[in-house]
Amino acid sequence: MALTSSIKRDYLYNLAKNGKRVDGRKFDEFRDIKIETGLISKAEGSARVKIGNTQVIAGIKMDIGDPYPDSPDKGVMITAAELIPLASPDFESGPPRENAIELARVVDRGIRESEVIGLDKLCMESGEKIWLVFIDIHIIDFDGNLFDAASLAALAALFNTAVPIERLRPTLEKLQEKFPSVKGYLEEHPKDYQLPMNEPPISCTSVKFNDVVVLDPSLDEEEIAEARLTVATDKNGDIRAMQKGLDGSFTVEEIKKIINVSLDNGREIRIKLDKSTGK
């Protein structure tokens, strides 16, 4: 982790005391969010999300695979995040470290536990052949709040995803000789179709430093943060996932306030997500 100078820390503390942030935002205000989908034609679905200067690209690949024994009728999703050295002077290449793994797992949980992907509709032959959905998240430019950027990019990419019947037709045709249900599946789905999706939760992250809580931390704010809380909320206004991070603590009142702020902002982000995916 990068060191922060005391001058910068004091500067941010003083600004916060006067109710201000370094980029002029309110405490409960997100940076500008831009969502762009379908930019990678080799991927089954893709999206680029910019939150201020933070930039994340998510790509979805699908393949035919074997189900897990405890869920023979369900597709399988696999999430991976790469903090590639392109994005920050502090990221190193090589196998994913703690931070990349936490990021991938938090994104994965948000999507998996809310059943955003209709995994039950991704079975071709019970116990034998199902669809694998790979979510790969690449951090391209790092200026804070990767959790929200990565989650949003993954969701936008999933909504942009078409099941690649055409690309895998030779394999599917071979499989249908052995597995009768695959034949039925192929008749039902003669060409690429939209990946079955359910209502997604939207994740909003806040951090606390020097007894103030700010939403959507920039890199400067993240570096001096004592505690972090990510809250994912759904369309009905319910909570779907949370993750507290760092070695500081929150009071119960702070947590409740963060949840409310996350609900309000989640609603606005949802509108942007729907618009980007043409809903």
Partner: protein
């Protein structure tokens, strides 16, 4: 793998409609990232590549330092979703080799002796791949280095040429056309690929690889076409840099 696809017709027109000496469409944008000291986004046909430069900064781990000059660490990485069948994330033997030859090519043009014990890190990320990613990556790296203000003798640039469309007669290949900048099918089913990188001001060759089968005459022709291609791309690199910095001046 053999294929019945006719890569080039009798009029010398290629599968995607290009002439033998015609490049795919290329778009270059300099300075696209906030955090990196220099960066470049490049589209070359179906390839989409981002390059970012960090440094010069202290080389770590220490044992990689050279007391006389900077070390150039280029890292070529392919996104898992950049190809038809998902690529396992992380470096493999192919990407390590490409990283090495690109590092060596860049080392030649950068004034490394100005920065002893430092490293200059060049990260190349392939977002979408469609034949010729190493040329696209090196070309993007050249622009990113210039954008980062790294002192260089020249902006390095890369382009490939190759041979396609020879006929198969009982296991022997005859005929064939030498063309520039192989596309996807040409790369998969062609007869030879010759990617090169040059320093366009002096014409020095910084990177050269070849696979396939070329006669001496075909090699001469391919090299000539690739160098010509490099010069065309070099112009686009400079235009992208001018476009970025001209805009900056106008704002001031």
């Amino acid at each position: 793998m053999e294929s019945d696809i006719k890569l080039i017709d009798d009029d010398g027109k290629r599968l995607d409609g290009r002439k033998a000496d015609e490049l795919r469409e290329i778009k270059i944008e300099a300075g696209v990232l906030h955090r990196a000291e220099g960066s470049c986004y490049l589209e070359w046909g179906g390839n989409k590549v981002v390059a970012a430069v960090y440094g010069p900064r202290e080389a770590i781990p220490r044992h990689t330092q050279n007391p006389l000059k900077a070390v150039i660490k280029a890292k070529y990485n392919m996104a898992a979703f950049s190809v038809d069948d998902r690529k396992r994330p992380g470096p493999d033997r192919r990407s390590r080799e490409i990283s090495k030859v690109i590092s060596e090519a860049l080392d030649k043009v950068i004034l490394t002796e100005n920065f002893p014990r430092a490293s200059i890190d060049v990260n190349i990320e392939v977002l979408e791949a469609e034949a010729g990613t190493r040329c696209a990556g090196l070309t993007a790296a050249g622009v990113a280095l210039a954008d980062a203000g790294i002192p260089m003798k020249d902006i390095p640039v890369a382009c490939a040429a190759g041979k396609i469309g020879s006929k198969n007669n009982d296991g022997k290949k005859t005929g064939g056309h030498v063309v520039v900048d192989l596309g996807k099918e040409e790369d998969n089913f062609g007869d030879a690929d010759l990617p090169i990188a040059i320093s366009p001001r002096t014409g020095e060759i910084l990177l050269l690889q070849m696979d396939g089968h070329l006669t001496l005459e075909e090699f001469d022709k391919a090299l000539e076409l690739a160098i010509k291609g490099c010069h065309i791309v070099s112009k686009l690199q400079k235009e992208a840099l001018v476009k970025k910095y001209q805009a900056d001046v106008e704002v001031d």
